[in-house]
């Protein structure tokens, strides 16, 4: 089942691919696309792939018919030049797949370069040139290997040369194959995907105008250029003006489109239809993205089907009612973790056995699960907690919190605390804005020592005291620094510039309260008594 496959990929990939497998029956997630095109390119275009008809094209992409027709219209008939196009629309609206399937229908040669996978100008340039070279070979002309280029000027030169060669080769082949019907025209199309990412590249001030004016610079009428972007055309306006490509807008899917998409490839359409009529509307208020919805619906549908003994059963009204009543109480809680992404570990467990899987799902679903998803050693947990405490508490209150003799007994200190509580509204606002503070290493280590010594006192009930001391000594050696850097690498802590006055590195704690509470609970640490409450 395609959906299963999707979920087994890593989380980042998964959303993408599962949406793709839903929105089309074709194996078209990004990765498979790449190997797919490469294969196609390598095996030559003439006998690589049967083209699809217009009907299959529009029916395989529900809700995208007007857009596809518009693209077809703007690309135009065989051998007609075109102005550059810009397809834009939010993420997960089927831009890339629509274009690629359209070209499959048209069966014309194209070059696809995604700015996400080709993440810098050099790689982008070389990927375009390499693909052009393959086209040239396909069209029946051998050529000496791909030339590498670094600079934009070299790229434009090489691009112009190879484009002209490809176009000539295509033209020659068309002459040869004149009688046969596989006329693919002598136009070549360049498709640039994820163009919005260009803006964050190093030399974005030159590379964006360069790519957007490519057709103007090259002046080759046989070249069609299509840009795909998730940000609207106004994101590319430049101070010196720009020739805008012709925009084609991909709106987000409407309720009906989504229903069409989710109804594809269902083994029991009736059952799924009644399921969708229950869940689609409330979820639609939260998000319209197919990838996220498909992740959310998968477990929910399992739940929906739970009372059914036989999934092929024909549903009557009473049954629908029962199923709805069964699902209703869960709906609200599911809505609140629409975006919950199961971790990798839970997938592995899932494969191990159905029984365990169900228990795991249940345990994760419980509002606050006590389990951490990963293993951490005891001292690292303490270190993490002390970092959390250091970030949340104002440094001035450290003494009152940790100094068992001084702070709390000192009336003056107490008054200070009182006055600072008076300002708590201001403080709270400020902390809301600024987020957790940064702290120097010394403060972190001091708090660490304080809370571990308290912990030792607790542990003394169970262990010999000298053992505990040994233990403590062990903790406070260079190991702590090593663990600190491990935490930094794992992105639980981060270094945040050095303080201009003290000159030492300051750290910042990136974990949120929920996580900190989990960690504290796993080692029975009374975290709340150490946090300054506003």
């Amino acid at each position: 089942m395609a959906k299963e496959e999707g979920i087994l990929l890593s989380p980042g990939r998964k959303t993408r691919s599962s949406s793709f497998s839903l929105s089309s029956s074709l194996p078209q997630n990004h990765r498979t696309f790449f190997s797919h095109t490469h294969l196609e390119l390598l095996h030559g275009h003439c006998h690589s792939e049967e083209s699809i008809s217009l009907d299959t094209l529009t029916s395989s992409l529900p809700g995208r018919k007007p857009q596809i027709l518009e693209i077809l219209r703007l690309i135009g008939p065989l051998n007609s030049p075109m102005l550059p196009l810009l397809l834009y629309g939010g993420p997960s609206t089927g831009k890339t797949i629509s274009v690629l399937q359209t070209f499959r229908y048209l069966n014309r040669p194209f070059v696809y370069a995604g700015c996400r996978t080709s993440y810098c100008p050099r790689i982008l340039f070389n990927s375009v040139l390499r693909q052009l070279l393959i086209h040239e070979k396909n069209a029946g002309k051998g050529s000496n290997g791909a030339k590498r280029c670094e600079k934009p000027s070299e790229f434009i030169d090489l691009l112009r040369i190879s484009l002209i060669q490809v176009v000539n080769a295509l033209r020659e082949r068309n002459l040869k194959l004149f009688s046969e019907e596989s006329d693919r025209g002598n136009m070549i199309y360049l498709i640039f995907d994820n163009v919005e990412l260009l803006r964050s590249w190093d030399k974005s001030s030159t590379i964006v105008p360069l790519l957007l004016r490519l057709s103007e610079i090259l002046k080759i009428p046989e070249l069609g250029i299509i840009y795909i972007s998730s940000s609207s055309p106004d994101a590319y306006y430049l101070s010196t003006g720009s020739i805008e490509p012709i925009p084609v807008y991909f709106p987000d899917y409407s309720l009906e489109d989504l229903r069409g998409i989710f109804m594809r490839n269902q083994s029991n359409p009736n059952l799924y239809f009644s399921f969708l009529s229950v869940v689609l509307k409330p979820f639609y208020r939260v998000t319209r993205r197919v990838d996220e919805l498909s992740v959310a619906f998968h477990p929910l549908f399992e739940k929906y089907c739970d009372p059914l003994s036989d999934q092929c059963l024909v549903l009557d009204e009473a049954m629908k009612r029962r199923l709805f009543d069964n699902l209703q109480p869960h709906l609200a809680s599911y809505l609140n973790d629409v975006f919950w992404v199961p971790s990798w570990a839970s997938h592995q467990l899932k494969q191990e056995g159905d029984y365990r899987q169900k228990r795991l799902w249940k345990s994760i679903r419980k509002e606050a699960s006590n389990e951490l998803d990963f293993h951490m050693s005891m001292s690292v947990k303490y270190l993490l907690l002390s970092a959390f405490i250091a970030a949340r508490n104002p440094a001035t209150l450290d003494a009152s919190l940790f100094d068992s003799s001084g702070g709390s007994n000192n009336p003056k200190r107490k008054r200070n605390l009182q006055t600072s509580l008076d300002k708590k509204d201001n403080m709270a606002e400020e902390i809301l804005l600024k987020g957790p503070g940064s702290f120097p290493l010394e403060r972190l280590l001091a708090i660490f020592q304080c809370i571990t010594s308290v912990a030792e006192l607790v542990e003394d009930d169970h262990f010999e005291s000298d053992f505990a001391i040994e233990n403590e000594n062990f903790r406070l050696t260079s190991d702590v620094l090593l663990q600190l850097s491990a935490l930094c690498n794992a992105n639980f802590l981060c270094k945040s510039g050095s303080c201009p006055l003290e000159g030492s590195t300051r750290y910042r704690c990136t974990i949120d309260e929920e996580m900190a509470v989990k960690v504290a609970r796993s080692i029975n640490f009374p975290l709340s008594s150490y946090l300054y409450r506003r």
Binding site: P91, D234, P247, D337
Partner: protein, 461 residues
């Protein structure tokens, strides 16, 4: 069949800038004639010259140069300077001229150069540079050397250094001057060449001060202040001739449309179809509704490229149905043109995302100068507490919706510092006005009434 041929023909016309801009070739006051006169004059007088073509993008600057080099014999003024006359001896063109004239822009260069080249193939060699590609001096000199080698059938060495190349360039200028040949340098995106030390501009313009060299430097830029960007030593060597390209007048527009849309009577198409098509175009061009559309279109942007794009969209709708171009095609093309991306994006936002936008708008109207996701969340919770709507979601869900808004570029982080801080704590701001938000909430059928009230209450109290 005939309609498909027509479609291809019209598309070819629209996608070929030199065809589009050739509509203005014949006008005597056009920049085309002026540039051509300038170059041919320089050729006859055997001097050096330099000129800047300035104007907004999409006005046809580049097309002029190509034609100027090709069409000398078409013009009365260019005639005596033509190659067939004995104008040979004197071809240096380095003029610095400052005369604002209405003409059309970079494609003019292409037209002028093409014209001149067809007339004087032996005399002119052209080196074209683009500021986007060759703004680096080293790279630019290398490119000049490469193009000159190519034109004069010399061997180009990739390994040559900057000094070698610039020496070669100066030698070439002298040799060409002695052989009564002229080199035309076309510098597109001229303003980008002025970044850095301007070594290229200086060495080009300095070489033109000698008597032996014959060359023209044509700079093309969209910045009106391009000559002010020059260093003093460069500016003093520049001729200060400027050709200004102004947007189209109504007459020009009419001429352009006729030029683009009427089918040629001598084509291979069936004659009755041809007649039908042309009379249909005639009907459209005289239609008042079409004139209204055209007025609205040119009110926003009356560059040639805008008209070109508009016609392209209209013509492409002939692809599926019609034999002829209809008024509806033009209207729908116009509606595509009038799209407002921001409102489209707002229409796409889900209800929860709209809630967050409204919260942010309330914060902004309270003149809170800086706020983060947490403060937005506080506002959201306050609203949910007081109105008890059904759209009360947990923080993590709201945060994802918030991230969607960032992806959609409806909101953005206020600064790029604090990059390592998590999303909740980074200050954000709205990228849209409350007017836009109000408008889209009103037109959104599925939007809950409470949201509109919340927005109105804050904004229009």
């Amino acid at each position: 069949m005939a309609s498909e041929k027509t479609l291809v023909l019209l598309r070819q016309r629209l996608c070929d800038p030199s065809f589009v801009y050739s509509a203005f070739k014949s006008s005597p006051n056009g920049n085309y004639s002026k540039l051509k006169f300038l170059i041919s004059n320089t050729i006859t007088e055997a001097c050096n010259n330099s000129v800047l073509l300035l104007g907004p993008r999409g006005c046809g600057k580049g097309a002029a140069a190509a034609a100027g080099t090709g069409g000398l014999e078409l013009e009365g003024g260019g005639r005596e300077a033509g190659p067939e006359t004995e104008g040979w001896g004197a071809f240096p063109l380095f003029a610095v001229q400052m005369s604002p004239v209405p003409v059309c822009f970079p494609f003019v260069v292409d037209l002028v150069l093409e014209d001149l080249k067809s007339e004087l193939p032996e005399i002119i060699s052209v080196a074209r540079l683009n500021g986007l590609l060759h703004s680096d001096d080293n790279c630019a000199v290398k490119e000049i050397a490469r193009q000159l080698c190519l034109e004069n059938k010399l061997l180009f060495s990739k390994m040559a250094s900057f000094d070698d190349n610039s020496q070669f360039m100066i030698d070439m200028l002298r040799e060409c001057g002695l052989a009564h040949k002229m080199i035309i340098f076309v510098l597109e995106e001229f303003d980008l060449f002025t970044q850095g030390k301007q070594r290229l501009l200086y060495s080009l313009l300095d070489a033109m001060q000698t008597l032996t060299s014959h060359s023209v430097v044509i700079g093309i830029s969209c910045r009106m202040d391009a000559d002010q960007l020059l260093e003093k030593r460069v500016r003093s060597r520049f001729s200060h001739k400027k050709l200004l390209f102004t947007p189209l007048t109504t007459d020009d527009m009419q001429r352009l449309l006729e030029h683009l849309l009427y089918l040629p009577t001598d084509s291979s198409l069936p004659s009755d179809y041809l007649k039908e098509f042309n009379s249909n175009i005639n009907n459209i061009l005289t239609d008042n509704k079409f004139k209204e559309i055209l007025d609205l279109l040119s009110a926003a942007d009356n560059s040639i490229s805008n008209i070109q794009r508009f016609l392209y969209q209209a013509i492409s709708s002939m692809h599926f149905q019609t034999e002829l171009l209809t008024m509806d095609d033009l209207k729908s093309a116009f509606s595509y043109h009038q799209r407002q991306p921001m409102l489209d994006k707002l229409q796409d936002a889900s209800i929860l995302e709209l809630y967050i936008l409204v919260c942010m708008n309330r914060l902004e109207s309270r003149e809170q100068d800086s706020y983060t996701f947490n403060s937005v969340m506080k506002e959201y919770k306050a609203i949910q507490d007081s109105y008890k709507t059904s759209d009360n979601y947990s923080k993590s869900v709201c945060q994802r919706a918030f991230e969607h808004l960032i992806e959609r570029e409806l909101i953005s982080f206020a600064n790029n510092r604090l990059r390592n801080l998590s999303v909740e704590y980074r200050p954000v701001r709205l990228l849209l006005s409350s007017q836009e938000l109000y408008q889209s909430l009103k037109s959104n059928a599925s939007c809950p009434a409470i949201l509109q009230r919340l927005l109105n209450y804050e904004t229009y109290r």
